[in-house]
Symmetry: C2
Subunit: 342 residues, 2 copies
DNA sequence: TTGTAAGCGTTATCAC
DNA sequence: GTGATAACGCTTACAA
């Protein structure tokens, strides 16, 4: 490896060929231009030998295509999003795309900044699980022509393509199960207030109660964040009431963990003193102090579908006219955290 | 917003200024070139109004700098790496860098492909938690001049900058604690065999035994992967022996989960029948069936330091001569998964 | 079957 | 104070 090759120009120089020919071979257009088999061989071999790596900046500038997707999520340390990110990265890569990752930290301002960054990096498309409260910039980005798919925290009212779980049904199933186990005083600890997963799960919660003729008690619908602290805090408050609920419906795995922490501190046993059902199945769900009854979401499918839909938008401008809205079934996993009461 | 501005050229056109002037203002070189305050105002305002986003491809091509870092990790669904990724993304962004994420899936071939991709995207630097067995391409990338920092799975023998936990001390502390609780027959379920965290933790394990005069039994050192399945499988095997260990040292949080699963299936109680201590503290560690005694690593610090060191390499070519090797203290968190025996 | 040259959107060098 | 222009590395009409 005597000469160092930084360029397609260098490579062409070494080979005594023109840049054009080298480029054609490297891009698999050899037969289209009837390039001699021997020439082809030599080019391929030299590229390998000199470890030539094409410059995607230059390529992108010329082709208006960077082979790069952007992903924005609210919290990668939440295993729900980590799993989604993993399936997205895998699906993207197997289609030849690299992934720029942004973690908004549930912060609207950071989300805005991240979108700008992705635009300036000229990503070919964006997958975003938004903070969930303000969609102005997202819709604007979409309308500017950028292929974009929303996951999890969707805004169905504004015609953006999205892929999400059937949060209504999940909420309904969870609460209906609690009711079938004899519970009537059921609390709901919400995630971010105006986010779709929260509103839909709460809608399912209400509908399940209603269908069983259980009157709604607004004092039992509490909280405003998907994180552990919120689960902890709200549980402490709920159980300082004179007539606490017999069951809690936690709207995320992290909230569920917070409930457990609070219960432990208060010397309350799950499910003896509190029944608990939580959104998001996790590897550890089965191994908790009380194996937890959960609502499982199809995270892998969500990620994969998001990429596949996005790639269709990218590959076919006409496809944009079809607005894709997918809703994925959830799955109730029954374990031991809900007690049958009389 | 009548005219759509895609370009600095368009922007200059709208303003009736030259591209040069606009570029200068936008890059904060206004006073250096003594650009009139009014002109400056007009440029800034128009950029905002027309929502001009600079093209980082063109910029990168010109400046040989993309404001982009690459991160390669073996498994983002492992919360240990998810946490690290989060701190890296945050630290990178707060320094003006975007992050390209690759998940190698513990696959050497994928890792190679990902490195190539990062190179072709012309990232300014790379942070990598390698699969851990083959470092040929990594060292080659480093030697080619690419700023690069290795985390977690380091190769201290080859002079690459790295940041890792003090895995030896962590292993020593864990096993020493088990010994102090009366255990003498202690199994160790390893992660990937030649990876540094495994070899170092095992070294700590051996040293602790040795210091207490407990003879080494190679049959108790088993397994070869950081995942749950390995923990499960090895525990099943260990407890099919006629004289099983009284304690298990699990070399990752996922392995620990596998141990729990196996124990449950075999009707064995933790810590009554098996004592367990596991590497990696997680949010759920305290809430498991038996709250788990763990070795905590400073994940946030690791991510932050990795970025900071990398940025120094990027900013100062001379800095390369200093090879940075950092080792972060671990922390034993005692809970209930280890029983005192006589 | 291969080569020449323009252009992608920026920034930096030189000129005015 | 401001502007014209070359160059970054690549792809692709257009030539030959």
């Amino acid at each position: 490896m005597a000469k160092v090759v930084n360029d397609i120009r260098d490579l062409a120089g070494v080979l005594g060929l023109s840049i054009t020919t080298v480029s054609r071979v490297l891009n698999g257009k050899a037969k289209k231009y009837r390039i001699r088999a021997e020439t082809q061989q030599r080019v391929m071999q030299a590229a390998k030998e000199y470890n030539y790596v094409p410059n995607k900046l230059a390529r992108g500038l010329k082709l208006s295509r960077t082979d790069t997707l952007g992903l924005i999520i609210p919290d990668i340390s939440n295993p729900f999003f980590a799993d989604i990110a993993q399936s997205i990265e895998k699906e993207a890569r197997s289609n030849g795309y690299s992934l720029i990752l942004g973690d908004s930290g549930e912060d609207q301002m950071v989300e805005k900044e991240l979108i700008r960054l992705l635009l300036s990096h000229k990503v070919d498309g964006i997958i975003i699980a938004p903070v969930g409260t303000d969609y102005k910039q997202i819709i604007q980005t979409y309308n500017s022509g950028m292929p974009l798919v929303v996951i999890d925290r969707c805004f169905p009212e504004i015609g953006l393509p999205f892929i999400t779980s059937d949060n209504y049904q999940g909420g309904y199933d969870a609460v209906n199960y609690l009711i079938s186990m004899g519970h009537r005083k059921i609390a709901c600890i919400q995630g971010i207030l105006k986010s779709r997963p929260t509103t839909e799960r709460v809608r399912g919660y209400k509908e399940a109660l209603c269908n069983s003729g259980i009157p709604l008690d607004d004092n039992l619908i509490v909280g405003d964040n998907y994180n552990t602290e919120n689960g902890y805090k709200q549980t402490r408050i709920l159980f300082s009431m004179e007539d606490p609920p017999t069951a809690i419906f936690a709207l995320s795995n992290l909230i569920g963990l917070g409930v457990i922490k609070a219960a432990e501190e208060m010397g309350l046993n799950i499910p003896e003193n509190i029944s608990l059902i939580s959104f998001d199945e996790q590897p550890y769900s089965a191994f908790l102090g009380t194996p937890m009854t959960t609502i499982d979401q199809k995270k892998n499918e969500m990620g994969q579908l998001a990429v596949d839909v996005l790639l269709k938008y990218i590959g076919n401008k006409e496809y944009r006219k079809k607005v894709i809205n997918m809703t994925l079934k959830t799955n109730l996993i029954i374990r031991d955290s809900v007690k049958r009461i009389v």
